[in-house]
Amino acid sequence: MNNQEIILDVKNLNTSFISDRKQVDIVKSVSFQVKRGTTLSVVGESGCGKSVTMNSIMRFLGSNARVSADNIQYNALRDGEITEYHLETYKKSNGPEMRALRGPDMSMVFQDPMSSLNPVYKVGDQVAEGLIQHTGMGKKEAREKVLELFRKLGIPDPESRIDCYPHQFSGGMKQRVVIAIAMICNPELIICDEPTTALDVTIQAQIMELLKDLQVNEGKSIVLITHNMGLVAEMADEVCVMYMGRVVEFGSLEDVFDHTSHPYTKALLRSVPVLGLADGQILETIPGITPNPADIKGGCDFADRCPDCTERCRQGVIPAFEIAKGHRVRCLKYDSFPEVNG
């Protein structure tokens, strides 16, 4: 695949945090690609490093985080020309290189709309801020653009709502404003970090619809972080399953859902609650608890909870195997297939 097709290419990303002078590895040799104009879903249980991975790429982590990677390459497509940006080479998290990309090229929709908006500024001004920063547009012109976007995002009565403060908005409307902030500079890549987790179910559907529309109509590339499997099935083109800071399975939606290979993915899919569970039928759970990232052992992180665990699983680093084109699984059950990086 070439740069035209791939918008984001991450190779061997490692993120650790220094806490109490100890280094705790949270994200370990993560590699994945996002194809232009598609949705990649990153799934996994809480604390598996989904958000940290994306925040590492966007460089939103605090000063106690250490990020290293062989390659974090963003390929911008402007007027048919590809420009490569190597994010791993930028020294400063909030330096001019990163700032120039945030907004017009890549942006992020955050999890909790209640706290993601600054309580003391009008929503319209908060949305316009990025636009004015990157285009040098005047306030009046920016306001028109914001109104236009509000209309597109289905915010009712935008002319009066634009001058409201966040506390005057409901949760769903606030999330639309957060999406507007992410969209205003027309970025190519939008990272959505559990965009609907804080919202109630009917609003969730509306917000997802909105994102899907944006992608279909405007060809945006979306990275969707979620632990909602239903959402994955509906939205994703490709799925990246993470466990304990590693990608355990990566493939197309079909690969992962219909040819589920990693024992963790299988367990994860089995533990999705379905409507109309028969009487007496118990919802399956994954036995055991997620290990603490601070006390790491060798071998597969899932070994203790895995039904297929063997002696070999507890030693060394488990590599990933490509069991079908573009379908990678990090499990020794598939060691007859070729080993790949990722």
Binding site: A100, P119, V178
Partner: protein, 319 residues
Amino acid sequence: MLKFILKKLLMIIPMLLLISMIVFFGLQMTGVDPINFMVSPETLSANANNVEALRESLGLNDPLIVQYFHWLGNCLHGDFGYSFDGSAIASIIAVRMPYTFELAGYSLVLSAIIGIGIGIISAIRQNGIIDYVGRVLAVLGQAIPQFLVGIILIQFFSIKLGLFPSGNRVSPEATNTFVDAFVHLFLPVLTLTIGMVAVLMRYARNTMLDVLNSDYIKTARSKGIPEWKVYLKHGFRNAMKPVLVILVFRIPMLVGGSVVIESVFSYPGIGLTMTNAITSGDYPVVLVTTLIIAAVMLICSFMVDVFNALLDPRVRLGE
């Protein structure tokens, strides 16, 4: 917004009346007889009838409630009565009030600039050199009592180095009043500032750290705006609210509570006037100074309400 301000402003009047009542009746209960301060004991026993006539003419035999309204009426006309030593309280206040406000004003402005400035920088460069040094100094500044700081400063700057006078507000022989005021104010202002910088620095640092960890700071960064905008526009404005409350509520403490500092530097402000009045039982003066301090307190609390409303739309629009 205007309605909000007017409402808060009108609230001050009944509060002040209530406070004046409590203080007035409370002081009456102390059993101090003003006649004793006016007439010497020998005259008192010799001319019992005349004294009774004086009592009657001064209105001291009227019921308390009548006396209160009489006093209140006079106050509203700008007549605050007389101190037991015979001078008009209004003129005492007119001289000493500005002194106290000078002292309070300079230390307030100085400590706000220094304290909030260092606090914000400490938060932005957390665990940096400024942060470490600032934290140590803040603990020192808060742990050492102010009067001790004052005494140490006097010992060093006035007695050892002879740079600044150890007390008073003006020198009788002063020709250049600006320089004279500066040298007299320097040490007491420095003493008050050290204490307040310590408090404000810690407070500003902690609230700013809180704010910088909030989600909307990440949102601000996601827009690609420069860091100074993230800190000043999105961080500072939100961190300012609690810091302003602390800062404004320092004003009544400075006006009424800098008694110790005014004594250490024998600085003739309201605080010193009040302590002297209390120890000598000069209750008309105690009454008025207490009311002034209460009024300052109420005005400051009004200011806090207004600042909060200006800074936070949730307060402004919730009213």
